[in-house]
């Protein structure tokens, strides 16, 4: 009986300790009540910093912690994670081709609903169609987008009307050449994807010359490389790269010049080339070039662009446009992952890249929010969000074996245009050697002719 008070004291103490522990656990749980999301992307360095700032804002708003992993070997890492049964909740894929392959394998979950009740308020119908990757449902958010069908020039050294047709463009090239100037800046160097600027040329020519339907057929592996349409696209490009004096430094310089260096001579005094066909991301490089006055080039006065010209004079201004995008996709469905995808699709999530002046958004609401502070960026963003027909980069859609062969063929063609037939035969052999199931049929967004 004498032990009873001590026992009571022990019970009271135990209850007090348990209550204290419970309070602690509750406090800890409340602090991290948002849970977490794992995100994988290829961005490292400055791009990682920019993306992390978006993720931090998301965490601040929702309390959900984001564990970000940036790895340049994104595809290898992602495949290994999927094989180990531990994919990230969200991964940012560098092309729609990668996205479509993961959709096909059942690893990516649809994200219908994250664009709100009226998706077309933020994204054009063309983009919403592209984001389905030909699978009938929405699967991705375009984290940043680029316009590819454009030609850059230096307004201070370009005494011509901006060409709207291919004929006008070649006439300008002929005139420049006749005046002892070199029309085109070309650089194929882009390790480990050297040759991609050339594939962009061929794609753009085929898209504008033969139309989106043929382009789509070719990108899906249903059109032979030896077909008249594809051959014509190569020979049309040959009118530029195979013409003596039309490319700065000739074929050797075109092969060895890095794509990031190619356009710089446009801004030298005197310029050693006048035009460059390159996607909108090259603006980031131009901004770092000093003009003749020693100041960094400004968009609009230092550099500008015009849309890739039409081959049919009647179609000028309503031509299809080639685009590319980094796409966020959900691999592990959860409320937190959906919340992150919703945030990435929103104006807040989309604004970070335009504000840094390095990339563009497909979200048209940003146009009203003045995030594009210069006329060139604004023009690119307007084109990205309003064009009637948008087509993804075909080489991104092709199986890796085909796109690798395409890159190599471009380099071989520049070195020796006389080998075109042999190269097309080789490319055709690669195409026919790839199983039909390995090809993707991702239609262009919007109307096709």
């Amino acid at each position: 009986m004498t032990n009873r008070p001590r026992f009571r004291r022990l019970v009271v103490l135990a209850i007090a300790l348990m209550s204290f522990a419970d309070l602690g656990i509750t406090a800890c749980t409340t602090a991290g009540s948002g849970g977490s999301v794992n995100v994988l992307a290829s961005w490292t360095g400055a791009e990682e910093g920019a993306f992390r700032s978006v993720l931090q804002k998301f965490t601040d708003e929702t309390g959900i912690t984001v564990n970000y992993t940036g790895n340049r070997a994104l595809n290898q890492v992602l495949l290994a994670d999927i094989q180990n049964g531990q994919p990230p909740d969200v991964a940012v894929l560098p092309s729609v081709g990668e996205l479509a392959r993961y959709i096909r394998s059942g690893d990516v979950q649809p994200v219908d609903g994250i664009f709100g009740a009226h998706p077309t308020d933020s994204y054009s119908a063309q983009w919403l169609q592209l984001l389905q990757a030909g699978m009938g449902k929405l699967y991705a958010v375009p984290v940043k987008a680029d316009l590819k069908s454009i030609v850059w020039y230096n307004p201070a050294a370009f005494p011509y009307e901006r060409p709207t047709t291919w004929g006008q463009l070649t006439a300008i090239g002929d005139d420049l050449r006749a005046n002892g100037k070199t029309p085109w800046c070309v650089g194929m160097g882009a390790t480990p994807a050297s040759g991609f600027p050339g594939t962009d040329w061929i794609e753009d020519i085929l898209l504008h010359q033969s139309g989106p339907a043929v382009y789509q057929q070719w990108a899906a592996g249903d059109l032979a490389w030896t077909s008249p349409e594809v051959r014509q696209a190569w020979t049309t490009w040959g009118e530029i790269v195979a013409q003596p004096g039309f490319v700065r430094g000739g074929p050797t310089a075109a092969l060895l010049t890095e794509f990031s260096d190619a356009g710089k001579p446009m801004f030298a005094n005197p310029p050693s080339c006048s035009l460059e066909h390159q996607a909108s991301f090259i603006m980031g490089g131009y901004r770092n070039v000093a003009g003749p006055d020693g100041n960094l080039l400004q968009p609009g006065t230092g550099f500008d662009f015009f849309p890739f010209p039409a081959f049919d004079a009647n179609a000028a201004g309503v031509e299809p446009t080639e685009v590319s995008a980094d796409l966020a996709a959900m691999f592990q469905p959860s409320e937190n992952a959906r919340m992150l995808m919703t945030y990435l699709a929103s104006e807040k999530g989309q604004a970070v890249w335009p504000l840094r002046g390095t990339a563009f958004s497909a979200n048209k609401k940003l146009l009203e929010q003045n995030v594009y502070t210069d006329p060139v960026s604004l023009k690119i963003a307007e084109t990205l969000t309003s064009m009637d027909t948008l087509c993804f980069d075909a080489s991104d859609l092709m199986p890796a074996k085909m796109s690798d062969a395409f890159f190599r063929a471009v380099l071989e063609y520049i070195a020796d245009p006389g080998r075109l037939d042999g190269l097309l035969d080789s490319l055709e052999k690669v195409r026919t050697g790839i199983q039909h199931d390995d090809w993707l049929n991702v239609p262009c967004g919007g109307s096709t002719r």
């Binding site: 070997a73 430094g249 092969l255 010049t257």
Partner: protein, 375 residues
Amino acid sequence: MTAPRGKPRSTTRRDLLRLRAALLVMTAVVFAGSLAAFTGVQSTVDNVTNRTAPAVLEVEAARSALVRADNEAMSSFQSGQGQLIGLGQQYQNQIAISSQNLARVAENNSAGEPGSRTLQLVEGLLPAYGGLIEEADAHFRTGGSTPLGATNLWNASRLMHQPGSGILAQLDVLANQEQEALSNTLSTGWMNPAGMPIWIVPILLLLGLLCLAQVFGKRKFRRTVNPALAGATLLLLLVAGVTSMTLVSRARADAAGQTVNQVVDRWRAETAGDALSGQRDLAEVLSAQCPGTVQDGCGDTVNTFVTRYGQAEAGSGVSQDQQGLERTKPVYYKLASADQSVLLGYLIAVGAVAIAVLILFGLQRGIDEYRYRST
């Protein structure tokens, strides 16, 4: 043999029983703490010797072999030998060596998932590098130094040497990850000085208890010294001495870790010096292809490269196979000296058991003596 009912027990006997229990419990704690510390440190030294340190050094070896392979390839194209003998046996050998090195890194990877991912990236880039070099070889064999051959060489070199994203830069990342893992291994668990009290405090407490037992015996039994307890004390000092060898092991393993870092720094600097030879050869190939002015040349990147490496002095040229073996010797010598004999572990166990037996023996006589006394 129990005490008669109603008669109070001896407090001396009770104290002796308590003292014996305390001594035996503390002996068990000393045994557990000392053995855990000894085996913990030895297991860490073993891990560092067989896994963590080799992972770091194999990354540097792979890096060095790849630079030598790259040098061989560039030299073969620059000198024109490639047209006759292709890339040469040395190139193939160095590529094979680097593959073996990387396989061992994968086997010994101590950097966990981040290390595996970096390794995956390197292993993904290497075939692309090999493909470009082979393509360059095909072009050089058929037409000598052609623009396309030079382009392939340039692209291969960029893939290998590009700061931040090239194969060598990724190997630097991997080496740093493995070095970090080594540093963590050498500073956590039983290697952390904060863990020392776990085995030192029980030894000091047991030592104090043994002294207390001697004082107690002297007061109660008028004995100057209890020989059995004195023997237990000596054995405890022996166990303490053996366990303190972990401090020596720790210091030597730490020194080995620092030597690994020094070796890596030196090796990396020498590899960078050796890489200049290949870069100079490539600069000559490029300047032959792009002889124009900056305006007509092959762009800023190529021009800067040619200017920078065109006149570069190459590295020492000393046989790097020998250097590789020589430079890792101090690491493994220090790690071998940190590795204590397993017999010392047994000595701790035997010592602890002997201490317990001596404690039992030393106090038993007094306990028996007071079995029937009331004070």
